[in-house]
């Protein structure tokens, strides 16, 4: 398929269709309205279903029903809406249902603002709702990657029977870039889900459920979920940029900030400063081993985020004091410039390590 200039939100929507998803449930919220709008136009063209739910709470529970009936389905929202969906996400995780949830983050807390942010990192990667659970979290940095990761998210959701979240921000959602859809799967070619509630023909009833009233049973369920989350570590991935010469400063950033960091790094390299980038692509599971190895070869680690400092907690846990970890963040919808970030890296080099 030829490359097409698309907004990040639209690319995510089209990627879902290209990989056989025919059900979208969502509620409008800025800055991701392009996704429900796109789905409302596209789903009928491919025999799919678009439902504008009465709320994000309802949307997440519609996903539960559709996924429980064995169908690929997804939703999208932005931070306050994702908070409302946490009820459904906890139940989806508990009942082990495969769905894809897109969070195009905006600034908070509360109603916050509508401008880009990365302030839902902790919510996304540490569970988000009640109970012991995790969702797989993928953080695209380009529109093409948003499309690729969306397609992959559906496969990972099915593989692990678990919700998968695409964690982007308003910039990724709104920017236009050329995008290519690398494969096309028809819904009828997707594998059967023998556990789904599709009608008890030739078998006993299937039950989709997250209730375990006996503590012994729930503990076993928690242990099995824990084992599954550990198994997901096979999916960790990251990208590095200009790290071959063991840079003195290793910038750690994901999503939009990683793009900004590349420009900062190019500018610093022109000045002869050794700075590189480590970009986690999976935020849960976190690429801990690769980061530990990369950080061990640096003099400084600088974590840059559009938040007051959330991912930096994971980086500090991984680096475990072996290298100093500094943080630079902008928040409230303010986006750092490449110059600002470069200045922070340069400052670190001015201080003897």
């Amino acid at each position: 398929m030829a490359k097409k200039l698309m907004k990040g939100c639209e690319a995510i929507g089209e990627a879902a269709i290209q990989c056989g998803c025919r059900l979208f449930f969502g509620y409008p919220i800025t800055p991701q309205n392009e996704i429900p709008e796109y789905m409302s136009a596209r789903m009928p063209q491919v025999g799919g279903v678009f439902v504008q739910a009465e709320s994000e709470v309802a949307a997440s529970n519609m996903l539960y029903g559709a996924a429980g009936a064995g169908r690929r389905c997804f939703t999208s929202s932005s931070s306050p809406g994702i908070s409302l969906m946490q009820e459904g996400i906890s139940y989806l995780a508990g009942a082990e249902l495969p769905v894809v949830i897109v969070n195009i983050m905006r600034a908070g807390p509360g109603l916050g603002g509508i401008l880009p942010s990365q302030s839902d990192y902790l919510q996304a990667t540490k569970g988000g709702g009640h109970g012991d659970y995790r969702v797989l979290v993928l953080a695209p940095s380009t529109v093409q990657e948003a499309a690729d990761l969306t397609m992959e998210a559906f496969d990972l959701a099915d593989k692990y029977r678990n919700p998968v979240m695409i964690l982007g921000d308003g910039l990724i959602g709104q920017m236009m870039e050329p995008v290519e859809f690398k494969r096309r799967i028809e819904p009828e070619d997707l594998p059967e889900k023998p556990w789904a509630t599709t009608g008890a023909v030739g078998r006993g009833p299937n039950i989709v459920n997250s209730l375990y009233l006996r503590a012994e049973d729930l503990e076993q369920h928690n242990l099995a979920l824990g084992a599954k989350y550990r198994a997901m570590e096979a999916e960790v991935r990251h990208e590095t940029y200009r790290t071959d010469d063991d840079p003195d400063v290793l910038i750690v950033a994901y999503g939009t900030v990683a793009r900004i960091a590349r420009t900062s790094i190019d500018n610093l390299r022109e000045k002869g400063l050794k700075v590189g980038l480590f970009r986690p692509v999976t935020l849960f599971p976190y690429p801990a081993a690769a980061l530990a190895a990369a950080a061990a070869r640096a003099k400084h680690v600088l974590v840059a985020e559009l938040s007051m400092g959330q991912m930096v907690e994971d980086v500090r846990a991984v680096v475990a004091g072996r290298v100093p970890v500094d943080f630079f963040g902008r928040c409230g919808g303010m986006v750092m410039t490449a110059e600002e970030l470069a200045e922070q890296a340069e400052k670190l080099l001015a201080v003897p390590a």
Binding site: E54, A58, C73, V201, I207, L211
Partner: protein
């Protein structure tokens, strides 16, 4: 000669059959069953007319009736698992009606039920069809997801008054307004049973509950919500009816309405919701047969029975 057959070990000793029998054929035994409940003895079988009232009112499918060489059989719309409901709770009757309807209509193997949060949270153990357990109030959102994903399936929700009319009211109104082709069984017993007898959105004015210990004060809590009348104001076509399960004839009518509700779904006609006025002997602090009388005397004047809206009456 017609004969009631008592499955002693399914019995919870609620005595509803004893009170329902017009000929006083049944009497409570002085003995107890394996679960520790007294159970009915067939004391005067010669008076049995085979009316099946005992079978109709039994919440535990513990009664069958033999007549003219034929014996009634327990529906395969329900599993063999005994319910976890309190003795005399009419949930069991409503379960049986729904189970019988999906079995008799031949759709059991294409049916998916949605269990709510509340007393019927374990309904997935009792209905013999695929089931999903929903979070509190979201059963109709879950049902929407199932039905939109698999329009060929028959989808029903089974919800109580707190689930449907309080925490899930938004989901209720919008599923009805979208005209989702699902069937909703709404059990209105005017109280929160599972959590221990708190006030429900349908608790009657003055009715005592653990969170309105001096009776529901309408100045503070408002009036009980008449769900079917409220939903009937929506323009979207729907089948909305209120039935009761406090006595045999009402139970027969309830089954007819439930059957109609499933028929409207199967024919792809409309959304359907059957409000079943029912009892909570434990929450109300009454004997099961007293609860049935209390229902008739106090609930039915506020929650009148009958079809409230039929799809052809869209306006």
């Amino acid at each position: 000669m017609p004969t009631p057959l008592i499955d002693v070990d399914r019995c919870k000793g609620c005595e509803l059959c004893v009170f329902a029998c017009p000929e006083r054929v049944l009497e409570m035994s002085p003995n107890i069953n394996a679960k520790g409940y007294f159970f009915p003895d067939v004391a005067r079988v010669e008076d049995c007319t085979g009316c099946r009232y005992c079978l109709l009112v039994c919440p535990d499918t513990a009664v069958q009736v033999e007549n003219k060489g034929k014996t009634t059989v327990r529906t395969d719309g329900l599993t063999e698992t005994p319910t976890t409901y309190c003795p005399g709770c009419t949930h069991g009757v409503i379960h049986r009606l729904v189970g019988e309807v999906i079995a008799e209509m031949g759709v059991r193997q294409q049916t998916v039920g949605v269990a709510p949060v509340g007393c019927s949270v374990l309904a997935y153990d009792f209905f013999n069809c695929d089931m999903q357990q929903a979070s509190h109030g979201r059963a109709m959102a879950v049902a929407t997801g199932i039905k939109r994903g698999r329009p060929d399936l028959v989808v029903f929700t089974y919800q109580g008054d707190g689930d449907l009319a309080s925490i899930g009211m938004a989901e209720t109104v919008h599923a009805a307004n979208r005209g989702e082709k699902i069937t909703v069984i709404f059990v209105n017993n005017a109280i929160y049973g599972m959590t221990g007898g708190q006030m429900a959105p349908t608790t009657l004015p003055g009715q005592i509950a653990t969170t309105c210990p001096t009776g529901r004060d309408v100045a503070l809590a408002g009036y009980p919500i008449r769900v079917v009348e409220m939903l009937a104001t929506l323009r979207t076509p729907a089948y909305l009816a209120r039935v009761s399960v406090h006595e045999p004839k009402a139970i027969m009518n309830a089954k007819k309405a439930i059957r109609k509700a499933f028929k409207f779904q199967i024919d792809k006609t409309c959304f359907s919701l059957i409000e079943v006025v029912s009892t909570c002997p434990t929450g109300w602090g009454q004997q099961p047969h007293e609860a049935c009388e209390w229902l008739e005397e106090h609930m039915l004047p506020y929650f009148p029975l009958g079809d409230v809206k039929a799809p052809e009456a869209a306006h």
